[in-house]
Amino acid sequence: MLTDETVAALRKELGARLDRAGREWLDRALAEAARAAEEGPGESPAARPAAWELRFASAGRHCRPADPATSTADAPVEVPADLPLDTADAVRVLLLHTARADALRAARLYERGTAAERRAVLLALPHLDVGDAAVPIVEDALRTNDTRLVAAAVGPYAADRLDAHTWRHAVLKCLFTGVPVAAVAGLDRRARGDAELARMLRDHAAERTAAGRPVPADLHRVLDLTASTPHPEEDRCASSTRTST
């Protein structure tokens, strides 16, 4: 979950970016999300969308920056540092967090979301109380070829919860589709000493070389990590990776 300090910092940053109409829209949207959190899950997610869910869908156009000409809206929101969010991402993550979206609600918003909405759900997962139940969402995103979704799928939630096979294929998918491995959370921890990942990377490099195609520099970076010895506590994390439920 996001800490109170992080939520406050995010709201402050968004307040500085948005014009008055955008700030008022955000205040109302967050109030609706907070009300939904107090009321609990209530009706099934398949029923008519809650007010905050409609806000979630329309956040992109309502939370544009105050001055597009000089705006930094495309720049990452720097608070907190581990959330690489643009303005709409940040608003949507805040809404999901404030509404305390459960796994069912997150899945519904993902399944009938635009690419931007799906990306926000993926980015929010580490900050929601969904346990392992959202792993299928991550697996779905990793099946796509949309690099925005793939990059959002390999965050801290995936690092903590994907089984070894799925996680290795996620890394390979990043190399395959050109998503920088810098997007892969927990890369050092999970790649260290992973002989099977090393084999997959070497095979991929051999295939590229045989085809006369360049081997991505990121591949060597990950390969180097696999050759290093895991720390005892890191080994524990890597070997206790959970399987999806």
Partner: protein
């Protein structure tokens, strides 16, 4: 020449088309939801299609430097299939989404009671969601279909100034213009409209509120027809401002009515070092 194709079914087109369109000057498209050639049998298959228009297809377009928006609706042909009609209940969830710039394509195919109901219901949805509407005019019995369409529009909550009547031709343009609608022309290799006829219509009726599209889909069609109309206009003595008005400013004005159009496009494939931003607006 900057080009906005206001009606093209990119789902049915290849990456070669995207490359050729970009090279020809296309920087923005609107993809209306429509019939896929193979009839659908349930609302769920519509939802996957809508998701594609709001997910994968904008991604594909952005990879080629083209801004992609869509219109969402139950199309006239499938409005006649009771298995498909329940998708109307799902539309509100989609009509709030950022990438949706109009309700459409709606209108008539065979002018049945079921089509009457779907058209009226969806014009109301457009009014409810502060969106304009893209209204297809029928391929058969076109003039009668256009006049009946105008009657339904006038009875609806949506002002005619927020309606684009598409697939117009010499027999229907005057009634559509007199009504105050936006005027759409689909330029095809050999059917609905061609470049020279389009130029003649522009001469007679002027460029005001005129939009030209390729309506390219899975049939015989050409995604570069917009550019060819621009070239034909210049050859016929129209100036570059007229061409820009028809091929860029008019579609921007119409689809901007809902306040959702965003024409800057970042290549999502160029995430590495984030240094390749392609601008679609200029």
């Amino acid at each position: 020449m900057r080009i906005f194709d206001p009606h093209i079914h990119m789902t049915s087109r290849t990456t070669d088309d995207y490359e050729a369109m970009y090279a020809a000057g296309v920087r923005a498209v609107v993809e209306p939801s429509f019939w896929l050639g193979q009839p659908r049998t349930s609302p769920e298959t519509f939802l996957d299609y809508f998701d594609s228009l709001l997910g994968w297809e904008p991604f594909r377009a952005a990879r080629h430097g083209i801004a992609h928006h869509c219109t969402i609706a139950l199309n006239p042909k499938e409005a006649n299939d009771p298995r498909c009609v329940p998708v109307l209940d799902e539309l509100p969830r989609y009509l709030v989404k950022d990438g949706v710039v109009a309700v459409g394509e709606i209108g008539y195919d065979s002018m049945t009671p079921a089509e009457d109901t779907a058209l009226a219901a969806q014009l109301q949805l457009a009014a409810d969601h502060d969106l304009p509407a893209l209204v297809h005019t029928p391929h058969r019995d076109k003039l009668a279909g256009l006049l009946r369409t105008l009657d339904v529009v006038r009875e609806s909550a949506l002002p005619v100034e927020r309606v684009l009547l598409d697939h117009l031709n010499e027999t229907t343009v005057k009634a559509a213009k007199d009504a105050g609608c936006w005027l759409g022309f689909s330029v095809y290799p050999d059917t609905k409209m061609d470049e020279d006829r389009m130029v003649a219509i522009l001469r007679e009726y002027g460029p005001e509120k005129v939009l030209v599209n390729s309506a390219a889909d899975w049939g015989r069609s050409d995604p570069l027809k917009t550019r060819k109309v621009g070239d034909a206009m210049l050859a016929a003595g129209f100036d570059t401002d007229d061409v820009d008005r028809v091929l860029w400013r008019n579609p921007v004005a119409f689809y901007g009515l809902g306040g959702r159009l965003a024409l800057d496009v970042a290549d999502p494939g160029a995430t590495h070092e984030g240094n390749s931003i392609l601008r679609g607006g200029s």
